[in-house]
């Protein structure tokens, strides 16, 4: 298995460039975070991979096979997205049965077990589900299809804190037991930063970061202390942002720590959310 290769993919909507010459590989058995602001092109990219829409130019290869309108390639990928393709009146258990027709490795028993853990009533119809349970229902399918590639577009939409926690745990359980490639598209960077191995940041249809989470975290740090000491320390350094609290200050910096920190300055980790905001601002 060679992964999903995206080669020179571009897509325009009218005169808006949604994706601009994207080159990217999702390697086998890794968890990726695809991050970007609303409208950055995350969903467009995922939809092109799964042939729900077509690129204007470039191509997508799945395990070396061109994916465009090719069932053999597309059967290897499952995309969970906000859009609902299931008939509203269909019951959840019918959707489970029906999914097996398209994805032969779909594990129905496992899906029912997950439904129990998430307290999803499988006798309910698709259209009667709340926003949260609509996400849960689709997540359960995504976690049970057993395709080598699982793409999750905004997976925790509408989920409460308990269900988000349960989802991340189930995802890691499943991944540890039978590894596959998982791509999580989100704008909640802090929430996924410990779960994903690689991070891809997309801005206005272009990829601006593609590296391991560990190396991104190592690209900066934060310092805290009295405002006077912090100000003295950060002068001339690459500052991402600062927080003030009375006479105290915390500053977020890019770069490596050079030499010893002055007395009274406390060291902390880089704030990924702040980095993300700065990178994806105009």
């Amino acid at each position: 298995m060679t992964g999903i290769e995206i080669k020179n993919v571009s897509k325009n909507y009218g005169n808006v460039q949604a994706l601009s010459n994207i080159n990217l590989t999702f390697e086998s058995d890794k968890i990726y975070g695809l991050l970007g602001r609303n409208g950055a092109g995350k969903s467009t990219l995922l939809n092109i991979i799964t042939s729900r829409i077509f690129a204007d130019s470039g191509e997508v290869l799945i395990d070396g096979i061109p994916a465009k309108d090719n069932d053999r390639a597309l059967k290897k990928v499952y995309l969970m997205s906000e859009k609902n393709f299931y008939p509203g009146r269909m019951k959840i258990k019918e959707v489970f049965k029906w999914t097996r027709q398209f994805y032969p490795d779909f594990d129905e028993d496992y899906a029912y077990k997950l439904a129990e853990r998430f307290e999803l009533n499988t006798g309910k119809s698709v259209k009667s589900l709340s926003t949260g349970y609509n996400s849960i229902f689709k997540l359960i399918i995504a976690l049970s299809v057993n395709t080598p590639y699982v793409l999750l577009d905004e997976p925790v939409l509408g989920l409460d804190a308990n269900h988000r926690e349960l989802f991340y745990k189930v995802l890691l359980e499943k991944y540890s037991q039978s590894p596959c490639t998982i791509v999580i598209s989100t704008h909640l960077i802090e929430e996924v930063s410990n779960i994903i191995e690689n991070i891809i940041i997309i801005k206005k249809g272009r990829i601006i970061k593609n590296e391991t989470c560990e190396s991104l975290l190592a690209s900066g740090y934060s310092v805290a202390g009295t405002a006077a000491k912090v100000d003295a320390y950060i002068a001339g350094r690459n500052v991402l942002g600062v927080d003030n609290l009375g006479g105290l200050k915390q500053a977020y910096l890019l770069g490596k720590i050079d030499g010893e920190l002055p007395e009274g300055i406390e060291l902390g980790k880089l704030d990924l959310q702040k980095l993300f905001i700065q990178l994806t601002n105009q």
Binding site: E173, I195, G268
Partner: protein
Amino acid sequence: MQIDFESNKPIFLQIAEGIEDAILSGAFAEESQIPSITEFSVNYKINPATALKGINILVEEGILYKKRGIGMFVKEGATRQLKQKRKEQFFDNYILGLVAEAKRLELSEEDVKNMIERGFKK
């Protein structure tokens, strides 16, 4: 064992240190099995590769070893080896910080020595 996600210390190092602490406290006894990569990963909600990296540090140091098809075990003599390692780090990890804080508070060397003596008597 707790992971501080706000710390500047990488999570894989915190995993390694957490396991060391558990061995030193006796929670993970010598020749007993430690939790699996999956358990670490799910429990702390971290990527399995991160947990594996932490565990591998201790495998390389000879603190843990792998039994094929079963899992990770604490090596015989690991406690003694860890105590030795921690003793070597004691000055850097504790004394330097203690002296720095004492200076900030204008405590004398004598004051600190007295407090250490009191600490030992407790």
